[in-house]
């Protein structure tokens, strides 16, 4: 087997600091490279698509780095693909952020701003919140229902097709899709890389996942 065949590519599109993602994969002994190179991403065995920041800037950076078609190709050819945070949000059709931003459209749905009615619900949501699983998914094998993960976000995804929602989370009066899954594509609103041992377990599962669900 060629070395590249086992490789995990962490897509660097200037959407935040990727150190924690890289260190988490190192901790489980997986080979992962941080890259913005289209060839490396296209050849990767698995692709991790993280991100913090605004949807508009993220789409602009993806466009400038000529990565939009690369991501489309990777997803279409069945490469196991894991989106995290903004890397989940831009998979939907559009986001309310930055005055309305068209996004990648890999999964039907949109991303909306939290508008809490109670002042006790702060925006952004920062901290650990529980995921209620709607259905099992290989990347979350061994993760108990209602496990808490670490969230930092002001916008939340709304998936149109219920079947795409693997896990749901409650905040600020809404129940939103915190894990989305469709074929070889899985993505989380929470930060897997900062979710402790259970986060490492999810990365381990992903590093062995063949892309079926």
């Amino acid at each position: 087997m060629r070395k590249e065949a086992r490789m995990i590519a962490i897509v660097d599109y200037k959407a935040g600091n990727l150190t924690s993602v890289k260190l988490a994969f190192e901790a489980i002994g997986a080979e992962a490279v941080v890259t913005d190179c289209p060839e490396v991403i296209l050849q990767a065995d698995r692709v991790v698509f993280p991100g913090v920041g605004a949807a508009g800037a993220s789409m602009r950076h993806l466009s400038e780095l000529k990565l939009i078609d690369v991501l489309r190709t990777v997803v279409a050819k069945g490469t196991p693909f894991l989106g995290i945070c903004v890397g989940m949000q831009v998979l939907f059709d559009r986001s309310e952020e930055d005055g309305g931003t068209p996004t990648l459209g890999f999964i039907p749905g949109e991303v909306r701003l939290f508008k809490p009615s109670s002042s006790a619900d702060k925006v952004p949501q920062i901290g650990w919140n529980a995921v209620k699983f709607r259905r099992p998914h290989p990347v979350f094998a061994g993760v108990e229902d209602e496990t808490e993960f670490y969230f930092v976000h002001s916008y939340y995804p709304v998936a149109i097709n219920p079947v795409d929602s693997v896990g749901m989370t409650d905040y600020a009066g809404v129940e939103f899709t915190s894990i989305v899954g469709r074929d070889n594509l899985v993505a989380t609103q929470f930060h897997i890389e900062k979710s402790g041992r259970v986060g490492l377990k999810v990365f381990e599962n992903f590093s062995r996942w063949g892309g079926q669900c």
């Binding site: 600091n17 913090v52 702060k122 949501q125 650990w128």
Partner: protein, 259 residues
């Protein structure tokens, strides 16, 4: 439901964790990375490190220690002390920290909050403040004055006005560390914590005074805090994080149960 965060605070000098009372008389408690790893295994929700002598010694933060911590734990942690500009912030974040805590620096140069938030995102910028109670002084309508440099300097700034200004500048979180309660183990200064928490829309972290689990419960209910910092009560071995969590869960506080 979003859970309340329990955040051990490690005051570090020369890679060792120390603990003092009212910022003085520090004694060595153990190795910073080892203690961080232990609290991580025990289920703490986040950690904060203050490189307490970096500013006084006019040296940058111990970046190797930040790297070692980032390899050892996979939860968010904040770092403060010895940060004087955006380049320092960038180094700390690239070493693997999630957040930067600014305190005295932001008092001298409030623009650093806005610059940091713009460069790295608000979620990375934590404002630490050390208010001291000042009664019946018209300069301080909130009843609290901001101090800096470990309570050594008064600033003439009102605590509530400073919290609001920091939020407007783009701070992602505010740690309210009561100078009067620090190290006393008699409970957080609840009126102060609540006043700030009700005045801003960003999360507020209670700090200073935790001596037993019920103090945290009070901070989350009466104090309206989103998170609470603990130090002495666990550093000395008097309490463990699982025991604190157990008591908070029994008190009906939403707490992370699975780790």
């Amino acid at each position: 439901m979003l859970t309340k965060r329990i955040i051990p605070c490690l005051d570090v000098r020369n890679k060792k964790v120390t603990k003092g009372v009212k910022f003085q008389n520090n004694v060595v408690l153990g190795d910073a990375v080892e203690m961080a790893a232990k609290y991580y295994e025990d289920g703490c929700d986040e950690l904060v490190f203050y490189d307490i002598t970096a500013s006084a010694e006019r040296r940058p933060i111990d970046i190797e220690m930040v790297r070692a911590v980032a390899r050892a734990i996979h939860i968010p942690f904040a770092v403060g002390g010895g940060i004087s500009n955006l380049a320092d912030m960038s180094r700390v974040l690239l070493a693997g920290a999630e957040k930067i805590s600014v305190n005295s620096l932001a008092v001298v140069n409030p623009q650093i909050i806005a610059d940091g938030a713009k460069a790295f995102g608000s979620q990375c910028i934590v404002l630490g403040m050390d208010p001291v109670c000042v009664k019946d002084d018209p300069r301080f309508p909130s009843g609290y004055e901001i101090t800096t440099r470990g309570f050594r300097e008064r600033t003439g700034m009102d605590a509530l006005a400073w919290a609001r200004q920091a939020e407007d500048l783009g701070a992602g979180e505010i740690v309210v560390n009561s100078v009067d309660a620090d190290g006393m183990k008699t409970g957080y200064e609840l009126a102060l914590t609540r006043m700030i928490a009700e005045a801003v829309r960003i999360p507020v972290v209670a700090s200073g005074g935790a001596g037993k689990p019920s103090h945290l419960a009070e901070a989350f209910t009466l104090g309206k805090a989103d998170a609470a910092i603990i130090a002495g009560m666990i550093h000395t071995g008097e309490y463990t994080i699982p025991r604190i969590k157990q008591e908070l869960i029994a008190a009906g506080i939403p707490i992370r149960k699975k780790w």
